[in-house]
Symmetry: C2
Subunit: 434 residues, 2 copies
């Protein structure tokens, strides 16, 4: 069934430029975009027109990293750094998901809020529990959103309440892969928590499973400086943190791989990220909340490393990808200043230009969307041939006409900074879910 | 008329500690707080009880610095630094307020949104225009909020459309001081834009007026590094930026003085701020948006310098003091990291601990509130004797009961990170305005 959306349309042409269309028609064949037109071409048998005149129509936003079980304590107890935060807040909470009833109540709230958010695609951690993760898959599958979820693998350095043996870890992973293999929306992703949580044997097995089943991989990389030192201690034979994953073929050797944070990567890490086409899931809210640091996103872009944006709930304190765009921009400005100050002291080699609005918008759409490309599927744009993921935004609450006739680009920028305004409709792969 | 609010009450005991009262009564004599009680003491003839059970009751939030005329372009064109941003975005917009009709439409939106916000007290810039500023005074006076507004003084280094002679600047200032002298809520504050905008003669006159009429002063200090250099060029005889104000008795010599930003203050500035009991209006959103820098708030607190928080609309991209609290915390974490990194390089002398939630909450209430203390009046707390400025917050949208029974402190922290939740009621000096 072909349908059209009428409104003010914007999507990224590339990292720097937006394509904008005032009062145009965006046409969908039921799954993919057929493109943007001034009027509806006769060749399309359009059976429905959604009139979103004066509203903004943009691609869906892609959240490249978040933790579903942590949503229950979002926005609290932010006064700790990563390792203490994990032991004090996170592990005790995740342990509760052993209880199926608890998991179901908590995940229902999470799935419902994610559906209502601006996110259309996601890459998500569950807990280590088979049952709870199975429930999460079912709930998310029903939302109509698309994404990846992984049961967390972790067989060392955790609490007694939140641990598994290597054998159980592998067994439950394989069981879940099988269970969700027929899912249409939410697919499996291999999910070693991070190097400190996984024995070498477990990492090795996960590398094999990823290769055998052609499954993508998600994990954490160089989030916090103490963590980086710990990894070096645990795996002295690794040349760097990234190399620790690489040793077990968990670093883009066979499948798409996304690494959250990448705040403190060194030259060896970056070279591996370049060569193995890793995605960075940039989480500015989390990196500030946990005092992790300010990731060198400009440097990654200059090196042509893939970058997507992420809320990292609940290190990140909100589910909003609009705010993630805002925080990506503002955090990069402080990065630029930090580098600028170093330069005056002659200790820095390179100036890192801050990110412009258009760049952050690209990262939140096509930057992360590319992770979902697969054969005939392309994600993160409204151009012809892309999966029809889109959002309709009402930016009329604030009386902009007073200021002057705003361009679509200006309205879009303003919307990102004022995300309280209204999300009117949301489509994922052609299906209207709000 | 004595009345009581029943609910879960929190206010700052001091910079580090919260006082919290589950299911208590906060009693008001119509203007001031009579204190918090488990049950209503018989001695009070309470004529009305507001039942806000399960809701949070906190002091009103104090916005120590914002620009009313800039509200019309909030959240746009953030890709510039201060001086370019002023010339490109701000001055052309402020010039429009010469038109009374434009001013009235724009200020109506501003006053209405400020009334609906979490702000109970404010310190605010207008434009240089007499008529527009007069309209702003009238509109804000009617909201029931309390605050200070100043006509901006600026007789050099601006655009042709936005300029005034020294004579007009003084004349219109005096005219406005007279006009608003009977106001109950919104009072006059002397408002030199900043050193680059004011001739020495104008600054001298403003210092005299402030002294003669006992009027407080607001301006900007050391926001941006190029600005600091420019001030040095303009006034080579000044020992520092702060000293440039001090030379004209505009730096707390006679009256309360608040300086926005204070990002790049040096030792001379800080000593003057200490000695003259200056308020710093810390504006983390603005300082990120305009790539200004990361102000050393911990250092100011260690030196016992007064600090309040501020949105700095429209350098700041929101009107929310809740988000200002969040951004104060997260920005201070990056400051700590920056200093920590410098330390490793042996270039720093001192580690700046990041700000905890309780500290930022204090700054947003009593920190700025103290600026409004006057004889019998005290502002920024719900303790007995303080002006009855308070907010009632509904934090039940998010199902917290799942996680566990949260303390009032945890609920409050979470609310600051999730300010989309509901502001249910707002009182200013005993008057219910929402």
């Amino acid at each position: 069934m072909i349908y059209a959306l009428k409104g003010d349309i914007a999507y990224s042409k590339n990292l720097n430029e937006l394509s904008t269309y005032k009062n145009h028609y965006l046409i969908c064949d039921g799954k993919k975009s057929l493109g943007v037109f001034k009027s509806i071409p006769k060749k399309f048998k359009v059976s429905k027109i959604y009139n979103f005149s004066d509203k903004l129509i943009i691609p869906g936003l892609v959240d490249m990293h978040l933790h579903a079980p942590q949503y229950s304590f979002i926005g609290m107890r932010m006064d700790l750094e990563l390792i203490d935060w994990l032991n004090t807040n996170t592990f005790p909470e995740e342990a509760k998901y052993k209880n199926k009833k608890y998991a179901e109540s908590a995940y229902k709230i999470f799935a419902s809020d994610l559906k209502k958010s601006a996110t259309t695609r996601f890459v998500c951690f569950a807990t280590l529990h088979y049952d709870a993760t199975s429930i999460l898959f079912d709930l998310l599958e029903k939302t109509g959103l698309k994404g990846y979820v992984g049961k967390v693998n972790m067989d060392r350095n955790s609490t007694k309440e939140l641990s598994e043996t290597k054998e159980d870890s592998i067994k439950n992973t394989l069981k879940l892969i099988k269970k969700v293999s027929k899912n249409k929306n939410v697919k499996y992703i291999i999910t070693p928590r991070f190097i400190p949580s996984c024995s070498n044997e477990l990492l090795k097995e996960l590398g094999k499973i990823s290769k055998e089943y052609s499954l993508p991989i998600q994990s954490h990389l160089s989030e916090n400086r103490s963590e980086v030192l710990w990894v070096k201690d645990l795996l002295p034979e690794s040349k760097s943190y990234a190399d620790a994953y690489h040793m077990f073929e968990l670093f883009g050797e066979h499948t798409n791989t996304v690494m959250a944070h990448c705040v403190w990567c060194n030259e060896i890490d970056m070279k591996l990220m370049e060569n193995n086409k890793i995605w960075v899931a940039h989480s500015p809210s989390s990196n500030r909340n946990l005092s992790s640091g300010n990731a060198p996103i400009r440097e990654y872009l200059d090196r042509n490393i893939n970058v997507g944006l992420a809320t990292d709930v609940a290190g990140g304190s909100y589910l909003s990808m609009f705010r993630t765009i805002e925080d990506t921009i503002t955090t990069s400005k402080l990065k630029w200043l930090e580098k600028d100050i170093e330069k005056e002291k002659n200790t820095s080699t390179k100036e890192l230009k801050s990110l412009k609005f258009n760049e952050a918008f690209y990262l939140a759409t096509r930057g992360g969307g590319k992770f979902f490309d697969d054969g005939d599927t392309k994600v993160g744009s409204l151009a012809e041939g892309f999966d029809f993921d889109c959002l309709v935004l009402d930016d009329k609450n604030f009386d902009t006409t007073l200021y002057k006739e705003l361009t679509i680009e200006e309205r879009l920028e303003r919307f990102m900074y004022r995300p309280n305004e209204k999300l009117v409709a949301k489509f994922v792969a052609g299906k209207k879910i709000i």
